[in-house]
């Protein structure tokens, strides 16, 4: 289906779908219009939009020289030149540059735009003549400027932009459910997503599920890294409102209180984000919300009321509290209570401590994180240029007075001033009357200075400005994109000599434009994060599955096969088999996991397993591994085999209709009739192969999201594995006089009914231990009935299925989505 409006409507029903992007950009400040010429480039023809022409021909070629001086902070800029260019690291630099050129092109001398005279060295161009009038570069510029002045802005029917195939709606729904909410869609849900509206509704539905909020916190912690941890002694001690939370000399103190306070303060920023989304509040509250989201421990530390008890069981009672946190301060023997300003996550102790400052850093690190995650601006790439401090020794206060430094500092320093008042020694302590640094640009945002009356609550003023900037929407889209798609947004290609340079530029442009558009829609939708998730899930970056193998440049950023994070892999085990990967205990008395039945996923709970599988600890290791290493393959083989082993046996303890995995076979469904001795030939059981193949086909879809036929090579391979293992077990059993029927590895027997929920009781040492109801004993020689323990595999099928499950759970398509 071709669609010229939005790619929220990528259709699944056609093999070749299309990606439409080049429409109006909605970023404020961009005047790119829609009343433009549009070409419907047919199959194979090369429609070049004005934006693409600008990027590849004007920016990359004709005006490449201009960017050297006319970028912010460049020589021309310092000398007061009116014309500005923006490097590709500037968010939506295409729109910004086109707006700049369009504006400057209005200035003319004798009907000739000044922008066409300056490059020839005329009109006192500081850079002299940089283009020759008969050069290709000049002709490119001339055509571009002329078209812009005439209002010609060509867009392309983007049908020929990305010729790729997409996951259909059911496949998309399955991938979204697994990666976002750790479950698989029900058959009814699969039926409901055939329509676009149905798919939209389904995606929104999974964003309301409990495990989605886990994923949401993971995505945002990958960006903000606040879960490195804070200690309640430092933080609650600074507030000094409840010493029993941290001071063991105070009556009422317990280690448990201290630990839960530390955990609560550490999680506060992520729980704030969760609260905002869970309650359908505008996502802008994450920086602009002038309230606290606290559980009883955080509230107590802040000196605020909370209606739930100060107990671990109430850990998940995060609620909105309108009052300010209060710090108890003593100065000159006078005690006073100081309210602390609140601005979403920005004022949380976990954020302030994670992105610490010093008297010489002056809040700039915090400003960098704000810029990167909330304003789509990587200040480290903002103005890539050689810095030579040795040339600055004679410059007084170079961050303000040397262009080499001020190009970035004039962006970052005003935002850093938004953190004024928070101590540069203690990090969490707030003192509204603290002086700020005279050697920095005053607090502000973009070109607006902070009113002095806001100096006492600067972070609130800063937080209120951020969502008003169009970059906020783009930035949130980029953070969510990283989490949902698993890749960094594309960067502008640097290698102009590369054969596929043009394709790569086009890929960048398409994605850049998409971010702008999606970000604008997110802003227009009152910062509704669920709608943003829908846009990302329905985009080519989530759904593209097949394309031209020779178009890697154009298709950069596309494709399936994203390596699942350890947390996601853990959830996928549970979604598909019913069990998480756990090394020893299936559950632990961790009150943060109450809503997940206290179940334990060692890929989430165990730092070592997370790190071995490429995860992060938010401190020393902050970037996830995005491709497999040999150690990770070995890890996935171990964890996959363990989950396969446990879950296959456990599934057979259920009635067939209640099973997750084996809906088409029984334990008695053997490929051959078991023999009395090895001299007897094997005799196939009628219909057994068909049933086994049907079940394998079902497992390919459930576990791998792959639609296969029962006669396919994929099913045949798995069936062969089943039969080979079965024959080997049967043969061994015969040679041991029936002595090989027991399931020998204790972890591969089913003795526990995990679905019935956990209870905790103290062991002999007083430690709480998880206990699940046991499965019923199976009397000796009694036929097997559902609900009985499964320790004997007299038909050799349980272990054969465990082998097939291991094969599938260690497959590339299981560990990647």
């Amino acid at each position: 289906m071709r669609n010229a409006g939005t790619f929220a409507t990528i259709s699944s029903s056609k093999a070749l779908s299309v990606f439409v992007l080049a429409t109006c950009t909605a970023l404020a400040g961009s005047s790119a219009g829609c009343s433009s010429e549009e070409e419907s480039g047919g199959e194979g023809s090369a429609c070049v939009s004005t934006r693409e022409f600008f990027t590849t021909q004007v920016y990359g070629k004709a005006m490449a020289t201009c960017a050297g001086c006319h970028t912010p902070g460049g020589v021309a800029d310092q000398q007061g030149a009116k014309f500005k260019m923006y490097k590709e690291t500037y968010p939506d630099f295409v729109s910004a540059n086109m707006a700049s050129i369009r504006s400057y092109a209005e200035l003319e001398v004798k009907d000739t735009p000044v922008i066409l005279l300056k490059p020839l060295g005329q009109r006192e161009h500081g850079g002299g003549a940089v283009l020759a009038k008969d050069s290709d570069e000049y002709r490119i510029l001339e055509k571009f400027v002329t078209d812009l002045r005439a209002g010609v802005e060509k867009t392309c029917d983007a049908g020929d932009q990305l010729q790729v195939e997409y996951l259909d709606n059911v496949q998309t729904a399955r991938k979204a459910a697994i990666t976002l909410a750790g479950r698989v869609p029900t058959p009814e849900e699969e039926g409901s997503v055939e329509s676009e509206e149905g798919l939209d509704a389904f995606i929104v539905k999974v964003t309301r599920e409990e495990l989605f909020y886990d994923r949401l916190r993971e995505i945002w912690n990958d960006a903000l890294l606040t879960e490195r941890g804070v200690d309640s002694g430092n933080v609650a001690g600074t507030f000094d409102m409840a010493p029993e939370l941290y001071d063991d000399q105070v009556p009422g103190y317990t280690t448990e209180k201290r630990n839960w306070t530390s955990v609560s303060l550490t999680e506060e920023p992520m729980r704030f984000i969760e609260y905002v989304v869970r309650n359908d509040l505008p996502f802008s509250d994450v920086v602009a919300g002038n309230y606290v989201v606290a559980n009883p421990f955080v509230a107590k530390a802040y000196g605020l009321p909370h209606d739930k008890p100060l107990a671990a069981e109430a850990y998940l009672e995060w609620k909105r509290i309108e009052f300010s946190p209060v710090q108890n301060q003593i100065r000159n023997n006078n005690a006073r209570l100081t309210p602390v300003p609140t601005a979403g996550v920005l004022s949380t102790p976990a954020f302030l401590n994670r992105w610490e400052t010093t008297p010489t850093n002056k809040g700039r690190k915090r400003a960098r994180i704000v810029l990167k995650n909330f304003l789509a601006t990587d200040i480290f790439k903002f103005a890539s240029r050689p810095v030579d401090s040795t040339a600055l020794t004679s410059v007084q206060n170079p961050t303000s007075n040397s262009a080499m430094c001020s190009v970035c500092h004039k962006v970052i320093d005003p935002i850093a001033g938004g953190f004024r008042g928070f101590s540069e020694q203690n990090l969490t302590r707030f003192e509204p009357d603290d002086k700020w640094h005279d050697d920095m640009l005053p607090p502000g945002f973009n070109t607006t200075q902070m009113p002095p009356q806001n100096y006492g609550n600067a972070v609130m003023w800063l937080g209120a400005q951020i969502p008003q900037d169009s970059r906020f929407g783009v930035s949130i889209a980029q953070v969510m994109y990283r989490g949902i798609v698993g890749d960094e947004p594309l960067t502008f290609p640097q290698d102009v000599e590369a054969k596929d340079y043009q394709d790569r530029v086009r890929a960048f442009n398409l994605q850049n434009d998409w971010f702008v558009k999606v970000g604008a829609r997110f802003s227009a939708n009152k910062f509704d994060l669920r709608r943003l998730v829908v846009d990302i899930v329905k985009s080519p970056y989530f759904r593209a599955s097949v394309g031209d193998t020779n178009k890697d440049g154009l298709h950069d950023g596309l494709g399936q096969g994203r390596l699942l994070t350890p947390e996601m892999l853990g959830r996928k085990y549970r979604a598909t088999t019913g069990l998480y990967f756990f090394q020893n205990d299936a559950a632990s008395k961790d009150e943060t996991r109450q809503r997940d039945g206290y179940l334990r996923s060692d890929f989430r709970n165990d730092r070592d397993w997370r790190l071995v599988y490429g995860g992060i600890d938010s401190g020393d290791t902050t970037k996830r591994t995005d491709t497999m290493s040999p150690i990770m393959v070995a890890t996935s083989q171990y964890t996959g085999a363990l989950v396969a082993c446990r879950s296959a046996a456990y599934d057979f303890t259920k009635p067939q209709g209640d099973r997750r995995l084996f809906k088409f076979v029984e334990m008695t469904t053997t490929p051959f009739t078991p023999r009395q001795n090895t001299s007897v030939p094997l005799v196939a059981v009628p219909d057994a192969e068909a049933k086994i193949r049907e079940n394998i086909k079902y497992l390919f879809w459930r576990l791998l999201g792959e639609r296969v036929e029962t006669g396919s090579a994929e099913v045949t391979d798995a069936y062969t594995l089943f039969v080979d293992v079965w024959k080997d077990l049967e043969q061994t059993d015969l040679t041991k006089d029936g002595g090989a029927k027991g399931i020998p590895n204790g972890r591969c027997r089913a003795e526990t009914d995990w679905d019935k929920g956990v209870t905790f009781a103290p062991d002999q040492n007083g430690n709480l231990r998880a206990t699940f109801p046991p499965l019923r004993d199976r009397p000796d020689k009694a036929p097997y009935e559902p609900g009985m323990e499964l320790t004997i595999d007299e038909n050799f099928t349980v272990r054969s299925w465990q082998a097939v499950m291991t094969y599938l759970l260690t497959d590339y398509r299981f560990t990647h989505e």
């Binding site: 290698d495 599955s545 085999a641 972890r747 590339y812």
Partner: protein, 467 residues
């Protein structure tokens, strides 16, 4: 890279490719272990101060001196390396909480004789991330793969070394030429034979032996089919990495030898420590001597090299961003880093890999010549780089800085000659990219088939720094 190139590289190091193989396992080991050379990149995170160890200086005269130092009172020249040697109270030592961790003079008179010092390296940045990147990959603007990753990637074309690139540094980009690995610690017994799940020799695994063997056989067929269907870049990238990683899995059981290796005895190092630090470094912290404890993270890396399961590694130590109380905090960070470099040099010799080991030690940038108001020193784009390895003549310095710690130039036609900074004719400032260009050449990374994707900045004229 052609196999003969690696043979050539082995020749360069003065070695044959002698691997710890037995005759019976040679065929497998030939594909999954690496006998050297190895590359270790150690990074001082936050920006070190070279004037406190390899580019020593004294406070310059005048009311506003171009360089200020409240600690050093004498600098000694060790084979052209200016090393701070005295303070007002005695010998110059790098201390933590008063305890002497390292003696720079002794360092450069002993293990430092194998180390080539580049002074006056212009990082062209004051920005942490850019500095970390530039020193790790040789390019400030483009996020190229780390040199350690490139080298491991080149070797990975030859052999499926299980943890070819051991990534524990700050900058570990791979450009997908190799996967990065983290050391799995106590998980090794489980991962060495994953389908057995840690079962003992006479116990049953998670699946039968027949199942384990058939799964791996069928996996290869499955991957071939998946590869034939793969058309888009993300699938290509992750499936390719998965296939490579599968092939490297065979040698993971070699990790056992790393995990079960004995901690070295402090007595084997004692005579090689400075008399002024010996007592402090050999003193026990818990059950372990302080020097052994410092070397622990490097010990794992070196043992992975020795076992042939890793080709390169990155390591980073923080604590160098001393914007406040510079002299105390910088000395502490530098002391532990230099002690670790000493550990690497001494321990590599004990393990028999010193003559196959390249070590590069860098930092984000340097520190300002003068103190700020908090007795700290801020970011300064001039720094130093240490380099050791087979064929690299150590115990000398290339490049210099002036009395204000500004970079001087080297003559591109004779790098031993130092020229004023204003001499822009044959004089060039040393940039990270030039060191990387040379290391790429020495490590034969410049012959790797993928290297064309990762060009160093063409704006930097090559310098024959390791000629």
């Amino acid at each position: 890279m052609e196999r003969r190139d690696f043979l050539k590289l082995a020749g360069f190091t003065g070695l044959s490719l002698m691997l710890p193989w037995t005759a019976s396992s040679q065929a497998r080991a030939d594909q999954t272990t690496w006998g050297g050379p190895y590359f270790l990149h150690m990074h001082a995170g936050g920006g070190w101060d070279p004037t406190m160890f390899c580019d020593g200086k004294l406070t310059t005269p005048g009311a506003t001196p171009t360089y200020e130092n409240k600690l050093t009172t004498a600098v000694e020249n060790v084979n052209g390396i200016p090393v701070p040697s005295a303070t007002a109270t005695g010998k110059f030592l790098l201390r933590e909480n008063g305890g002497p961790l390292e003696d720079p003079l002794h360092f450069f008179q002993t293990v430092g004789r194998d180390i080539l010092v580049f002074n006056g390296v212009d990082t062209q940045t004051n920005n942490h991330d850019t500095g970390v990147q530039g020193l790790a990959c040789g390019h400030n603007d483009v996020e190229l793969p780390a040199l350690a990753a490139l080298f491991a990637g080149a070797v990975a074309r030859e052999r499926q070394v299980p943890m070819a690139f051991l990534a524990s540094g700050y900058y570990n980009r791979t450009g997908d030429v190799v996967g990065s690995s983290r050391f799995p610690g106590d998980k090794i017994p489980l991962l060495a034979e994953p389908f057995r799940g840690g079962a003992g020799e006479n116990e049953a695994g998670l699946v039968t032996d027949t199942a384990a063997r058939r799964i791996l056989e069928l996996r290869n067929q499955r991957l071939a089919r998946l590869e034939a269907q793969t058309t888009l870049p993300r699938n290509k990238r992750t499936l390719g990495a998965f296939k490579d990683a599968m092939r490297g899995g065979d040698a993971i059981n070699l990790l056992k030898s790393v995990a079960t290796g004995q901690t070295p005895d402090i007595s084997t190092f004692a005579n090689d420590l400075s008399p002024d630090t010996r007592a402090y470094l050999t003193a026990a912290q818990g059950n372990t001597a302080r020097f052994i404890d410092l070397g622990r993270p490097l010990e794992t890396i070196l043992r992975c090299f020795q076992a042939g399961i890793s080709v390169s590694a990155t390591f980073a130590q923080g604590g160098f961003d001393t914007h406040a109380q510079h002299d105390v905090n910088q000395a502490s960070a530098l002391g532990s880093l230099l002690a670790r470099v000493r550990y690497v040099m001494l321990r590599a010799a004990q393990l028999g890999i010193k003559d196959k080991l390249y070590v590069m030690v860098t930092s984000d940038f340097g520190r300002t010549p003068r103190y700020n108001t908090g007795n700290g020193k801020d970011h300064w784009n001039v720094t130093s780089v240490l380099l050791a390895g087979p064929g690299i003549r150590g115990g000398r310095a290339i490049g210099q800085t002036d009395e204000g710690h500004k970079a001087l130039r080297v003559n591109k036609n004779n790098i031993a000659e130092v020229l004023p900074d204003m001499d822009t004719g044959p004089g060039l400032r040393i940039h990270a990219s030039q060191i990387h260009r040379e290391l790429r050449r020495v490590l034969l990374v410049d012959k790797a088939p993928f290297i064309g994707q990762f060009p160093l900045p063409s704006t930097d004229e090559p310098l024959p720094l390791l000629a």
